[in-house]
């Protein structure tokens, strides 16, 4: 286990040290102490290492992650795991706005609540939120899965393309072109796997699936050139 004191050694040294870890590194476990809400912690990693941040983080923690598993033992500020490509990010507390935005792959688990715009423009990421999500979550979502074990705020899935949204609790309102959809056996199987990966013991049958009605401009063949 490598321990890195962020307050003493600084952000640039932390991220460059983590960037130097190759796929074959034997320094596979990292612990970051004194994060104190700093921005851009563990951004741009590309190695199968496990990073644990002992405390809360500021803007853009774990952005652009590839391969790494990043644990936040606290809450995360805006834009956690933004544009993740692969790997996993697990937040023990809450996440601020636009968690998992534009994520292409990997898994983001938020054990508390996520605020507004969770999964905005998601492009393949899987997001499992144990608590609630705020308004405009999955706005313009294109691919991937958003699982919400609590409730969703206003305008869920506004202008959604093709992502699957699973919500156990209430949905304050659905956004434009987002509709409730039938939960078929294959969806229950996908959801069971997501819940297991997200460390959540909720039952798939308790959830409702939402997705795209495919009625907006881009889905209308008459609009094609």
């Amino acid at each position: 286990m490598q321990t890195f004191d962020l307050e003493a050694e600084g952000l640039r040294k932390l991220n460059s040290t983590l960037h130097r870890q190759a796929e074959t590194t034997n320094q596979t476990e990292w612990e970051i102490i004194n994060p104190r809400g700093s921005h851009a912690i563990a951004v741009g990693l590309d190695a199968p290492i496990e990073v644990t941040i002992k405390g809360s983080t500021g803007y853009y923690c774990a952005g652009m992650n590839k391969q790494a598993t990043i644990n936040v033992h606290g809450s995360a500020g805006p834009g956690v795991a933004e544009n993740m490509m692969s790997g996993a990010v697990i937040v023990d507390g809450d996440a601020s706005q636009y968690a998992g935005a534009t994520g292409n792959g990997g898994t983001l688990v938020i054990k508390g609540n996520a605020s507004s715009r969770c999964g905005i423009s998601m492009k393949g990421i899987d997001i499992v939120v144990h608590g609630n999500v705020g308004h405009m979550s999955a706005f313009m979502a294109q691919s991937g899965n958003l699982v919400v074990c609590g409730n969703a705020g206003d305008a869920l899935g506004d202008s959604i393309y093709e992502a699957r949204l699973f919500v156990r609790g209430s949905v304050k309102s659905l956004g434009a072109d987002c509709i409730e959809k039938e939960m078929r056996p294959e969806h229950l199987a996908i959801l069971a796997d997501l819940l297991e990966r997200g460390g959540c013991d909720a039952k798939p049958a308790e959830f409702t699936r939402y997705g795209s009605a495919r009625k907006l401009y881009n889905f209308n063949i008459d609009n094609a050139y």
Partner: protein, 298 residues
């Protein structure tokens, strides 16, 4: 982008440290707003005395003998305590309006930053650390206070464009965001006879709240109606004589983090602003909901 900090003490034993705690929080928010900074602090007041915080760009001349001249003009004793470009004038509560008018006559380059029983507002252009040092904010005690670091987007970087803005006796407002209908609202308020000094958007929001309250709204009601009448992005923190309030616009893209323990309620634009507060590791930390008015009172 701007930074906001706020601290409301429940534990009286912390009151002597209020200024020091707020200063530390304010400096943490420097990179959100390095242009100018300000602080509103609710300190000691006595029932018979009101306070006016006044400002001059040329304090050595403007404040020299001012207490005597003001006292003669309004026929009541006043004391004046200079602090860098600002000064606190103590006088009887029922003489505040008269003193404000008399100051305009005596020296119209003097600006009134705040009035109230306990509120003092200090704000200037410069890095938050330098501004806090000039007014020795760290040495001030009080029950609660709010601070602001400004990165100007709407109007010039000037003392009068800095926050907090005084909205009424013992009331003030700070703002992170930008309002898009401030020009039309300024025209409307001026038609109603409201005095607005600058082209700043937040001054319009402050004037709007003042105007609403003069027309019978409570502060809570005025804040609620601002959700309909103000167009743009905002996180507001308002200070009142016995507490503070928070309101975010319905889109809520301007950040806000709150923390509460048995000792205090704290506000920060970011969690970074809160990390040195006592017991923060075990505090309840959360984000205020959009379009929801919050208040904490003594």
């Amino acid at each position: 982008m701007c930074g906001i900090v706020g601290l409301f003490l429940k534990d009286k034993s912390l009151e002597p440290q209020l200024g020091a705690m707020l200063t530390d929080m304010l400096i943490t928010m420097t990179d959100r707003g390095p242009d100018s900074a300000g602080i509103a602090i609710y300190g000691d007041g006595s029932a018979a005395n009101a306070k006016m915080t006044i400002q001059s760009d040329n304090p050595d001349v403007a404040f020299d003998g001012l207490a005597k001249r003001l006292s003669a003009a309004i026929d009541t004793p006043v004391t004046l305590t200079p602090k860098d470009t600002h000064a606190v004038v103590a006088l009887a509560t029922n003489k505040v309006a008269e003193a404000r008018a008399a100051l305009r006559e005596l020296d119209n380059s003097i600006r009134v930053m705040s009035t109230g029983d306990t509120l003092e507002i200090y704000k200037e252009v410069g890095l938050p650390k330098d501004v806090a040092d000039r007014f020795a904010v760290a040495k001030m005690s009080g029950s609660h206070g709010i601070g602001h670091t400004r990165m100007a987007t709407e109007s010039a970087v000037t003392t009068m464009g800095a926050h907090p803005f005084n909205t009424g006796p013992d009331q003030c407002l700070v703002h992170n965001g930008s309002l898009s209908n401030h020009n039309s609202l300024r025209r409307k308020l001026r038609r109603e006879g409201v005095h607005i000094e600058t082209e700043n958007d937040t001054e319009v929001a402050a004037a709007y709240l003042t105007w609403k309250m003069q027309n019978g709204s409570t502060l809570g009601e005025a804040l609620k109606s601002s959700l309909d009448d103000l167009d743009g992005f905002f996180t507001f923190v308002v200070g009142t004589k016995d507490g503070f309030g928070v309101l975010r616009d319905p889109i809520a893209c301007k950040p806000a983090v709150m923390a509460e323990t048995d000792q205090y309620v704290a506000f920060g634009s970011e969690y970074r602003a809160l990390v040195n507060l006592p017991g923060i590791d075990t505090a309840r930390v959360w984000e205020p909901e959009p379009a929801t008015v919050y208040f904490w009172n003594h």
